[in-house]
């Protein structure tokens, strides 16, 4: 299968995952609990994986997932499609909350270095038995995109995304000039955007 063809197929599969989510959000806004369960079905896997990748603690990650979905339920009125997709809204909330907890824990344990380093196992990938196959395809595509980045760029992105570190902190951690970290982060995310654009451009919402 050619790469471009494959991207078209992937775009339509993300559309399957993210489409009609606007309708679900409307029902959530109206207080429909079944709609909340549907939101869970669509995004729980990714959101829990994200929280776990940051926190490395299943119970804490589950708490974050539930807290964010509850918040989405309470604050559905505040969701504004003009500012990004539902996927962005939920992942930003999960990441923020998980990073808040991570920072609290780091302060408590005073082991800043250890916590973000623990994410440094390369890009792991493991699906679960119940996963929808289109989601699996999407994941493979994103994993491939990340793996194709120069490792230094990927490291900068992952230390920021999963470790919650600022550019200065990353520069200090890696003993690199700040400018180098800035360049790696910019080039890396721009590349990801180009590779992933056909996917997220296909999203409804």
């Amino acid at each position: 299968m050619s790469d471009s063809w494959r991207r078209v197929a992937l775009a339509s599969s993300l559309e399957d995952v993210d489409s009609t989510v606007g309708e679900i959000i409307s029902r959530v806004q109206a207080g429909d609990q079944a709609a909340l369960a549907e939101l869970y079905d669509r995004y729980a896997d990714t959101l829990l994986a994200l929280a776990y990748r940051i926190l490395r603690d299943r119970a804490e990650a589950e708490d974050v997932l539930l807290e964010v979905l509850e918040r989405a339920w309470r604050e559905a009125d505040r969701f504004d499609p003009e500012r990004g997709s539902v996927r962005v809204w939920l992942t930003v909330m999960v990441r923020s909350r998980a990073l808040d907890l991570l920072r609290v824990r780091r302060r408590r344990e005073r082991v800043a270095a250890e916590a973000a380093r623990s994410g440094d196992e390369g890009v792991g990938f493991r699906g679960t038995a119940g996963d929808a196959s289109e989601l699996e395809d999407l994941r493979r595509h994103v994993v491939t995109a990340l793996q194709e980045l120069p490792p230094a760029q990927r490291e900068a992105i992952e230390l920021a995304y999963y470790g919650g570190l600022s550019q200065s902190e990353i520069a200090a951690r890696l003993s690199l000039p700040l400018g180098t970290v800035k360049t790696r982060m910019r080039d890396g995310l721009q590349k990801l955007r180009v590779v992933l654009r056909p996917i997220h451009a296909g999203q409804a919402l």
């Binding site: 609990q33 909340l36 369960a37 869970y40 729980a44 990714t46 829990l48 994986a49 776990y52 990748r53 299943r58 589950e62 539930l66 979905l69 509850e70 339920w73 309470r74 009125d77 500012r83 990004g84 997709s85 996927r87 962005v88 992942t91 930003v92 990441r95 923020s96 909350r97 808040d100 890009v123 792991g124 990938f125 493991r126 679960t128 119940g130 996963d131 989601l135 999407l138 994941r139 994103v142 994993v143 990340l146 992105i157 920021a160 995304y161 919650g164 570190l165 600022s166 550019q167 200065s168 990353i170 400018g179 982060m185 910019r186 995310l189 721009q190 990801l192 654009r197 997220h200 999203q203």
Partner: protein, 244 residues
């Protein structure tokens, strides 16, 4: 932070999206963002790309039935019911009194209960968008005294919303809140309620006055936490449109 002229705004967008900018860079970038629709589009696209990153994180085995049950027990009665309905019913009572007092105020309540940097930034961006909208009119509410409280209202007429910024305003007592009033020729029309931080600041987005109302000014009073249908205390601050 040493000034680094080589950083073009576009170069900072990726780090901004990853919340990785150092504070001085973040402030500089936000100033650019407020001015450039193109840059906002860039940020939106990068956010969509970044939101796909966690698809690559390994799945975590989980018990969906148990988690969903926990989720539903969390929301049942606790949120949509308790948080929305009573407030709405308060507002509904006002509708009869003040015609079209907008229900959308509920959405703006506690808009600024910040919990993380990225959300703070996103909210700040939204607030800037409201304030920088061409139709936005500034109304100053003032008082007299030693260190008087003041409130700036940025009335976004196109969007029908008001960004309210208060300063030197001591927090309302337990069970009380501040309430915004829209002044017209006749009884004041109730607006949203809010409270200030211990440092005397408040920044909230609330619904604007009904579209058919000829606004001559605005005021803020101290009211019971749920808000009142008509002012029950003397205004803390008052301002009129087009003058002191």
């Amino acid at each position: 932070m040493n000034p680094d002229d080589r950083d073009e705004p576009r170069d900072l967008a990726a780090a901004y999206v990853l919340d990785a900018l150092d504070p001085a860079d973040a402030r500089a970038f936000e100033a650019q963002l407020a001015r450039s629709a193109e840059l906002r589009k860039e940020v939106t696209e990068l956010r969509e790309a970044a939101a796909l990153i966690p698809l690559s994180a390994p799945s975590v085995p989980r018990d969906d039935a148990a988690l969903k049950a926990r989720l539903l027990s969390r929301v049942r009665g606790a949120s949509a019911g308790a948080l929305r309905s009573p407030r709405r019913s308060v507002w509904m009572a006002w509708v009869g009194w003040a015609a079209a007092a907008a229900l959308a105020v509920v959405a703006g309540l506690q808009w600024f209960r910040a919990s993380s940097l990225s959300e703070q930034l996103a909210r700040r961006e939204a607030t800037l968008d409201e304030i920088l909208e061409p139709s936005t009119q500034l109304i100053l509410l003032t008082a007299t005294g030693e260190r008087p409280p003041g409130i700036q209202l940025f009335w976004n007429k196109a969007g029908g919303r008001v960004v309210l910024h208060a300063f030197n305003l001591p927090p309302a007592a337990q069970g009380r809140a501040y309430q915004l009033w829209f002044l017209r020729d006749g009884a004041p029309v109730p607006g949203g309620t809010f409270n200030s931080d211990p440092d005397g600041h408040a920044l909230v987005t609330v619904a604007g006055p009904p579209a058919d109302l000829t606004l001559i000014g605005a005021a803020v009073t101290d009211e019971p936490a749920g808000g009142s249908a008509q002012p029950t205390t003397t205004p803390v601050v008052v301002g009129t449109i087009g003058g002191e």
